[in-house]
């Protein structure tokens, strides 16, 4: 039962967090931002961490989700959240279309191909009238019904994001323990060996990529509901892709809670350093942010969770 103790305690803490910061809107929002970051990074983790296919173009799915949400509002007048399932479905198809040609590539070539596809989609989106071109599209400025999800406080978003994250982590956990998780680990260790054992590597990589794309798209839709605006740069920009990778890698890629730990460190670091240093206008925010990432990478190249692993080993000694 020890296995469930820590996740259980984390969940309880997560559930009561908004109560602890009730009259501090910035911290309510910070909680929601951490969860949103964790959703994106955990979605990426399925293909990037478990299957070891380091996509640096996941912004394609994120942007797809964000645009799906805003497009159903702009063109159909629906509440943006109604676009989320559409975005997820389209992202699965898109993942297949991108995955079939690119997942054959090994290592860095796959990463570079995904960067190229991401940039390609970003440029194309900026020329599309339907997507609002370079100006981007805004969601409902003034909420019409409660389904427009426009709240004064971030707490409703917080619980929506928490529910999605729990679902995603549960799904990842189930995969990890199941046959697919076993195959993915085998592919990550050595694709050739996995193939020789009869694992159809291409198929499982593609499944992981599609699932990952669907949840990344959901993160994008949720982002849109919260912020109410997307343009090519904030939807498909390369920084979005890189941040997902960095968050997962910082916490520990290929581990269930790695991306969450990464988000718990990086998102508050980003927000607080901007709040404290950003107003000076000297770029110090990113000097500090970058330096901390460098230091973590230098001393814990396998991510923060490797600290726990190491302690376990010494205890066993």
């Amino acid at each position: 039962m020890n296995r469930f103790l820590i996740p259980g305690a984390m969940l309880v803490l997560a559930l009561v967090y908004p109560l602890l910061v009730q009259s501090l809107p910035v911290y309510e929002r910070l909680g929601a931002l951490v969860l949103l970051g964790a959703i994106g990074a955990s979605a990426w983790n399925i293909v990037g961490g478990y299957a070891g296919q380091v996509s640096v173009g996941h912004a394609v799915f994120f942007g797809f989700g964000a645009y799906s949400a805003v497009v159903v509002y702009t063109h159909l007048g629906w509440p943006p959240i109604a676009g989320a399932p559409i975005g997820m479905a389209l992202s699965v198809l898109l993942a297949a279309a991108i995955g079939v040609p690119t997942l054959r590539l090994s290592g860095h070539y796959f990463s570079m191909a995904t960067i190229a596809v991401g940039e390609l989609v970003r440029v194309l989106s900026s020329t599309s009238e339907f997507l609002g071109g370079a100006q981007g599209l805004g969601g409902p400025a003034i909420p019409r019904t409660v389904f427009d999800l426009s709240f004064l406080s971030a707490t409703p978003f917080y619980y929506i994001f928490l529910a999605v994250l729990v679902l995603l982590l549960w799904l990842t956990w189930a995969i990890e323990r199941g046959r697919m998780g076993y195959y993915l680990r085998a592919i990550k260790d050595s694709e050739r060996a996995a193939r020789s054992l009869g694992v159809s590597a291409g198929k499982y990589k593609l499944y992981a990529y599609m699932l990952s794309g669907a949840f990344t798209s959901l993160a994008g839709s949720l982002y849109l509901c919260m912020f109410g605006f997307v343009d090519p740069e904030s939807g498909f920009g390369i920084l979005i892709s890189v941040k997902m990778v960095v968050m997962a890698a910082l916490g520990g890629a290929g581990q269930l809670f790695g991306p969450l730990v990464g988000a718990l460190i990086l998102v508050p670091l980003e927000e607080l350093s901007n709040s404290l240093l950003g107003g000076k206008g000297a770029g110090l925010t990113f000097v500090v942010y970058g330096a901390i990432i460098v230091i973590i990478a230098r001393f814990l190249p396998s991510g923060l969770l490797s600290l726990l692993g190491r302690r376990k080993v010494t205890r066993a000694d």
């Binding site: 900026s126 370079a134 805004g138 004064l152 912020f227 343009d231 090519p232 000076k280 206008g281």
Partner: protein, 410 residues
Amino acid sequence: MVGAAALAAGLVRPALAQDGTVKIGVIYPLSGNSATAGNYSKMALEVGADVVNNGDAELAKLIPLAKGGGLPGLKNAKIQLIFADNQGTPAAGQNQALRLITEEKVAALIGAYQSGITLTASAIAERHGIPFVNGESVAANLTERGFKWFFRVTPVALDFARAYSEFLKAQKAAGHKTDNIALVHENTEYGNSVGSVIIDQFKKDGFTVGTKIAYSANSSDVQPQVLQLKEKNPDVLIFISYTSDAILYTKTMKELNWKPGIMIADNAGFNDPAFVKSLGSQVEGLINRSAFSAGKPGSVPDLFNKIYTKKTGGDELDDVSVRGLQAFMVLADALNRAGSTEPAKLQAALKATDLPAEQMVAGYDGVKFDDKGQNVKAASVVTQMRGGRYVTIAPKARATAEVILPYKGW
């Protein structure tokens, strides 16, 4: 829902801080690709706050709030500016707006330069019922959202397009060729929106844009575009560009030795003080628009410009920084008349704003907001590059020089 929110926010808001200062939150791009603009605007606002708080003898003769000692209508409260960095992303802009409202308890917000970020940041202000004064975002939809707390001081793209059209009409009448017009614009929100408005307006006024070239602002090379222009050889060339691309086009046009008879640049990159300083001599005779016109010695813009130039160590006020400064002066005036930092009173004071042209630091005809929060007296002047400096050539009332054509370049 929104009304209740406003009420709730109003209840927790202190009328004035203990030490008799009133806080204004300012959101600008202080890092990222637009950081140059954000940092210049920041300095311009600091000049504005300094004039209100500590006074300036010369300006005091022209502007009531420049006597020093803070805002007389608000128990002589001094203004404290709290700056925040939007990092060039709509998310950071919104997060910082929330922090300024709820943590710093600012009386009002100013910002946020990029239209998309202004959109997300002002949405938070609207929900909390805090006035948001915008000085420089030109996207048309910002004032079409039915917001009650959003006030835009800047002219919009249509005003620019009209100014260019008027200018070209005058040149046509004077015998210059204007038949073949080429429009070259960068492909983000700014270039696209301004570009399409110009094309529409020109069509109405009987000018045809024969060549339209869109490019991405972070291009590594612009030679093919310049070669294309060289081949088509338009009479009039209009650029809508950021700084990086303005630099590349200027250099490449010289390299390939081509120039049109009339060259117009819509502000932005061609107005960046860094561009003007290093490449101003390469675009002699360039037509530009600006909200800044140094005007006659001793005028409001001239006096502000002197203080600002001292602060920056040589860079003069430009279109972007002056529009930010003007937005600040509008807000300071409203705070003074409201006599309170209570949001509803400040909102009412902003709605009642009626500033005359003589008090403008920007080249506007005054400030007066319509129901949507748009300043109906916003305007632009047309300028021309002369000897590394922009001089005002239109409208007549503000002009300090006559136009000289054709475009000379380098």
